[in-house]
Amino acid sequence: MTEPLSVLAQVEIRDRGGDASCEQANDLFCPGWAIENFDRYVDPTLEHLVLVGASMAAGFTIAFALALLAHRFNWLSTPFLAATGVLYTVPSIAFFFLLLPITGLGRTTAIIALTAFTLQILFRNIVTGLNGVPGEVKDAGRGMGLSDRQLLWRAELPLAVPEIFAGLRIATVSTVALATLAVFANGGGLGVPIYEQIEFKTNIIVAGGLCMLMAILFDVALLLVQRALTPWLRVAR
């Protein structure tokens, strides 16, 4: 394929007249190319991890705080649900550019928008988890002399773990997928290689595949953590 037609301190004009290689012909998937050029996807994958990690951490912290408040003051449930609902409904790309005047474009903007997206799922699941704790458990706890705070951390939250983690898993998987759009906010991530060569099929499959793989791995990891945190459920099986 690369036959130099001109020499001597000049750019070699390659001969592309012969058979096109897999990537030149843009066949559906070129495993050879994918393996050879895998290092192109390393940085975007790391950026993607940062986007997801940061927004999940921030989202969980905020949602947790809101949920605890709503658990304490029941009337806060509805307004918080409505507020997080709005943040969930507004499409992330629109959110990126609503933030344009305030944070401009970049990773920060992307993280803020992704965090906003996760809040409703997390908030709702944490609240449901806490509300789902049977009354007898709370009574028993109070009977044992536990303060409200101890009750929360020692009895209610552990029992709410399955529900909380269900929310975490849903939110994380969704965020991994959504973070591909961060490229429009100049926020990096796996969306960048996709967008830069949007017609190169192998590229889309590799970047998209890495994305889905990341989602699956996060999902499994969270499931394992959940199992580790709830040993009593395993015994019951």
Binding site: R14, R16, E23, E199
Partner: protein, 330 residues
């Protein structure tokens, strides 16, 4: 025998040196800048030397958002780095107004711009009045830039333009060689272009205005899909660039319609930068840029575009190859 061989060898060396020096003189820059001084980095037609004095200057090279631009940005960035500058890259910014804004706001120190785009988009010159002569165009752009505290350097050898393209089969079938031939036909044809083509004078607006064409439908697609839609038979016509790799690689497949009314002016590339940086960065800044772009003929630019768009190399890799193959860097 051995003396014969050594004589042949000597002759060959002489010949090579002759050809090399002819090549150097032919490709050497014809600008009026100082050479031979110990503190300049660029040597006409030769390798870039790193100049330690440049180490205090940071240059941020930008580019617009398509392959050719990103490759150019990489070439300039790597060249400036070889010359000893500290270089940051902010490539793939967006279209021209966004790049200009980034330049004016100091986000970047310079980026490559097409003279035609600069004149029509920044300085409101009607497309038909863009000078055909590259030097005149570059001078006009430079004069206009200087009114804004910016400046631009010498033009590249190659020029690029938007163009209406189609499959050769379609062109043959409908007898299309120039854009005006579309008169009477265009109502039955679909045109595909970037979303912003709808509002650009050097795109759909120019086709509907001066050419007076009406299309069956205009469909927006990402700029990278301009050949895909032709290949898939979805588009009758597509907006292409004259330096596209695919035009050379598959010359029998695609055809560009001649722009007989001059709505799509061709533009050579000039590196646009702000005057403050030019003063601060010393002579190597302009010299290096103008040196490395000497090799960018249309054929070469197309080849570089091909390496990215067809061979699937990265723009950075391609730029390095260009600089090495032309002998600008090791």
């Amino acid at each position: 025998m051995s003396t014969d061989r050594s004589r042949w060898r000597a002759l060959l060396v002489l010949l090579a040196a002759l050809v090399l020096s002819v090549g150097v003189i032919a490709c050497g820059d014809d600008d009026d800048d100082e050479t031979g001084a110990a503190d300049t980095a660029a040597e006409a037609g030769g390798q870039i030397q790193s100049n330690p004095e440049n180490g205090d200057v940071t240059i941020t090279v930008g580019s617009k958002n398509f392959t050719e631009q990103i490759v150019l940005g990489e070439i300039y960035a790597q060249a400036l780095e070889a010359a000893g500058y500290r270089v940051n890259k902010k490539l793939n910014l967006g279209s021209e107004l966004i790049a200009l804004k980034a330049l004016n706001q100091g986000e970047i120190t310079g980026y490559p711009e097409y003279v035609s785009t600069a004149l029509t988009s920044f300085f409101d010159v009607p497309p038909e009045q863009v000078p055909g002569d590259p030097q005149r165009g570059a001078d006009q752009a430079k004069a206009d830039f200087e009114k804004q505290g910016l400046t631009s350097f010498a033009p590249t050898p190659f020029a690029s333009a938007n163009a209406v393209g189609t499959l050769k089969s379609t062109a043959d079938e409908l007898g299309l060689t120039k854009v005006s031939d579309l008169e009477g036909e265009s109502q039955n044809l679909t045109l595909f272009g970037s979303p912003e083509c709808r509002q650009r004078v050097d795109c759909l607006v120019g086709l509907e205005g001066p050419y007076g064409l009406e299309f069956k439908k205009f469909t927006p697609v990402d700029i990278e899909l301009r050949y895909t839609v032709l290949d898939k038979g979805q588009a009758d016509l597509s907006i292409l660039f004259t330096t596209d790799a695919q035009l050379a690689a598959e010359a029998d497949k695609y055809v560009i319609l001649e722009d007989d009314k001059g709505v799509f002016p061709a533009g050579n590339v000039v590196f646009v930068t702000d005057q403050a940086t030019v003063n601060e960065a010393g002579p190597d800044y302009q010299e290096t840029i103008e040196l490395v772009q000497e090799g960018l003929t249309e054929e070469v630019m197309q080849e570089l575009d091909a390496r990215v768009d067809i061979d699937r190399q990265t723009p950075a890799e391609t730029a390095t190859q260009y600089l090495q193959e032309e002998g600008y860097i090791e």
